[in-house]
């Protein structure tokens, strides 16, 4: 690779680098800028931050009122806390369901393993919107679950499940489950199972061996899977909007409504910045876990 030289290398990386800089990094700076602007009845609906006043005076107007507003109206902080809670609980459920599945797939015979893996990947490739929509049909008052339970005589009145927090949790866990299973499987697949046999030969009970060997060794897989579920789930919009009902306070939904319904672009920007401040440490954590995982693989 040495012969490629600095210029050749530079050219290869330059295109994606500049693309991401322009379309991924610079936009955040603009969001930051607009979060300090004021709402205006104009197109676009915000006041400029830097303005010429008179001939030779350049005025910079920094308006903190959007942030002040977020902290005075309890709606926003409640939504933020609730989003973190929902994302955390969903992550725990994904882990509880996903870990045994990933473990089972990793320990299956190679031919079965590929089929099982395919079955995990398939929903991941099928539209999220349509899979969330499927739950409306299952959960609604005259939906599949209520019909089955009533025909079996278990319940006599249909249960209210759709447009409740329960429906939202089911939707999030369901949609993000493959994101938990796949990194866990990738990690467990590399495990040396002879360690478990050795532990059992030395008198460890199976659950002890699992707790002392498998669990610590799969730490990076657990962390990677949890981050892949937790971080996007905090800002999730589609699932709360379709399954959660009008009272589902999620920050992604608030941002959406501020932007599309209220046309309050500066407030939406401030919400985005607040959300980013909370999520960036987790993203950095995720990146360091990924770096460790790929270093360990070599």
């Amino acid at each position: 690779m040495q012969r490629l030289g600095i210029t050749g290398r530079g050219l290869v990386v330059m295109l994606p680098y500049c693309w991401l800089l322009l379309f991924f990094v610079v936009p955040f700076l603009i969001v930051l800028k607009i979060s300090f602007a004021d709402i205006d009845l104009a197109i676009p609906p915000y006041t400029p931050l830097i303005e010429w006043i008179g001939k030779n005076t350049l005025a910079i107007k920094v308006n903190f009122s959007n942030y002040a507003f977020l902290f005075t109206d309890s709606l926003y902080l409640n939504a933020l806390l609730n989003s973190v809670k929902v994302a955390f609980v969903s992550t725990v459920f994904c882990l509880l369901i996903g870990y045994p599945m990933a473990y089972g797939i990793a320990r299956a015979a190679p031919s079965t393993r590929n089929i099982l893996l395919l079955l995990v990947i398939l929903p991941f490739w099928t539209s999220l919107l349509l899979r969330v929509y499927a739950w409306i049909g299952l959960l609604k008052a005259n939906g599949v679950i209520n019909n089955v339970l009533m025909s079996l005589g278990i319940i006599h009145e249909p249960l209210t499940m759709l447009y409740t927090p329960f429906a939202m949790y089911v939707g999030i866990v369901y949609s993000y489950l493959p994101f938990m299973i796949l990194p866990l499987y990738a990690n467990l697949e590399k495990m040396d199972w002879q360690l478990l046999e050795a532990a059992e030969d030395l008198g460890c009970r199976p659950w002890q061996a699992f707790y002392k060997i498998t669990l610590p060794l799969s730490r990076n897989g657990i962390l990677a899977g949890s981050m892949l579920v937790f971080i996007p789930a905090v800002g999730e919009f589609v699932i709360p909007a379709l399954l959660g009902g009008p009272n589902a306070l999620m920050i992604g939904r608030i941002l959406w409504d501020e932007f599309f319904s209220n046309r309050a672009w500066p407030v939406a920007s401030a919400v985005a910045i607040l959300l980013l401040i909370i999520l960036v440490p987790f993203m950095m954590w995720y990146q360091s876990v990924q770096a460790r995982e790929s270093a360990g693989a070599k």
């Binding site: 690779m1 050749g8 290398r9 290869v12 990386v13 295109l15 994606p16 680098y17 693309w19 991401l20 379309f23 991924f24 610079v26 936009p27 603009i30 969001v31 607009i34 369901i97 996903g98 473990y103 089972g104 320990r107 099982l116 990947i121 398939l122 929903p123 490739w125 099928t126 539209s127 919107l129 349509l130 899979r131 929509y133 739950w135 409306i136 049909g137 299952l138 005259n142 599949v144 369901y174 493959p178 199976p206 659950w207 892949l228 971080i231 996007p232 800002g235 919009f237 589609v238 379709l242 992604g252 959406w256 932007f259 985005a272 959300l275 980013l276 999520l279 993203m283 990146q287 070599k298």
Partner: protein
């Protein structure tokens, strides 16, 4: 493994897969239901293909699907080029200026909540239009740029991990024999990473085809994509035509995934034979 625990694992797998597949299966079954109530089975007139015919004549959905298809194809092709370059750089150049930033910029879009990416892209497009007059208004171009920005991150990961599992011996040998770097890339590296590029293309296509949030932020009047139309319909409740759409999606995805994995398994066997 002792018997008791393996029963536990098998039960977990069975319940887990049931959880993943019951909703999908229910959409497939009810797509053949004659009743407009969708989930109440009309046994007198079902199964029927009537919703399949009505979907085939739904202009709104067909128009949106055509826009989605255009965006998805351009996005997938562009993302593959950008993602392959980034993945190749990250996997093969040990040190270069901006490596850390590039790595961070290709990891962050994977987990970034879509509402943030969508909002920030829209504000960028508005600011660009104000200052340099491009892009004039929003539509297919701005949506495609938005999709490429997060799709290329997925392609980068796929290409990078494929390259990481291959050592550089073949490439070095070719260079020792006097091949120029570009030739090495096209004759040696590209065939090695071709399966990754193909799955990257399909992944980028799917991500774009399914995207609702970033499209909603970056689209303009008259450029509603399929997910945008589906979302506005679904918000009003269940609709039999959406079940049909879901069934068709599941069928296409299944055929595609099974086809690609057969092809890859064959390629892997050939790889083994070759070495």
């Amino acid at each position: 493994m002792n018997g008791r625990r393996s029963y536990f694992i098998i039960t977990c797998l069975a319940f887990g897969f049931a959880f993943l597949y019951v909703p999908i299966m229910s959409m497939v079954v009810f797509s053949f239901n004659a009743s407009r109530l969708v989930t109440v089975w009309d046994s007198a007139n079902s199964p029927t293909l009537k919703w399949y015919f009505s979907l085939a004549h739904n202009e709104e959905i067909l128009d949106a699907a055509w826009i989605s298809l255009k965006v998805a194809v351009i996005n997938a092709s562009g993302s593959v080029i950008l993602g392959t370059l980034a993945g190749f750089g990250l996997a093969r150049f040990a040190k270069f200026r901006g490596r850390f930033t590039l790595n961070a910029m290709t990891t962050a879009p994977l987990v970034m909540p879509e509402v943030i990416t969508g909002l920030s892209l829209l504000l960028l497009f508005v600011a660009l239009e104000q200052t340099i007059g491009w892009p004039a208004g929003r539509g297919i171009t701005t949506m495609t740029i938005g999709h490429m920005t997060f799709s290329m991150a997925y392609v980068t990961v796929v290409v990078q991990s494929r390259l990481a599992s291959f050592d550089t011996a073949l490439e070095e040998a070719a260079m020792d024999l006097g091949a120029r770097p570009l030739k090495v890339f096209f004759v040696i590296t590209l065939p090695i990473i071709f399966p990754a590029i193909l799955s990257g293309w399909l992944l980028a296509f799917t991500l774009s085809w399914d995207d609702l949030v970033i499209s909603s932020f970056t689209s303009g009047p008259g450029s509603s994509t399929l997910p945008m139309v589906v979302f506005s319909k679904v918000r009003l409740g269940v609709s039999p035509e959406i079940n049909v759409l879901a069934t068709l999606t599941v069928t296409v995805v299944t055929l595609m995934i099974v086809g690609v994995s057969f092809w890859m398994a064959r390629a892997a066997r050939l790889d083994k034979l070759a070495t």
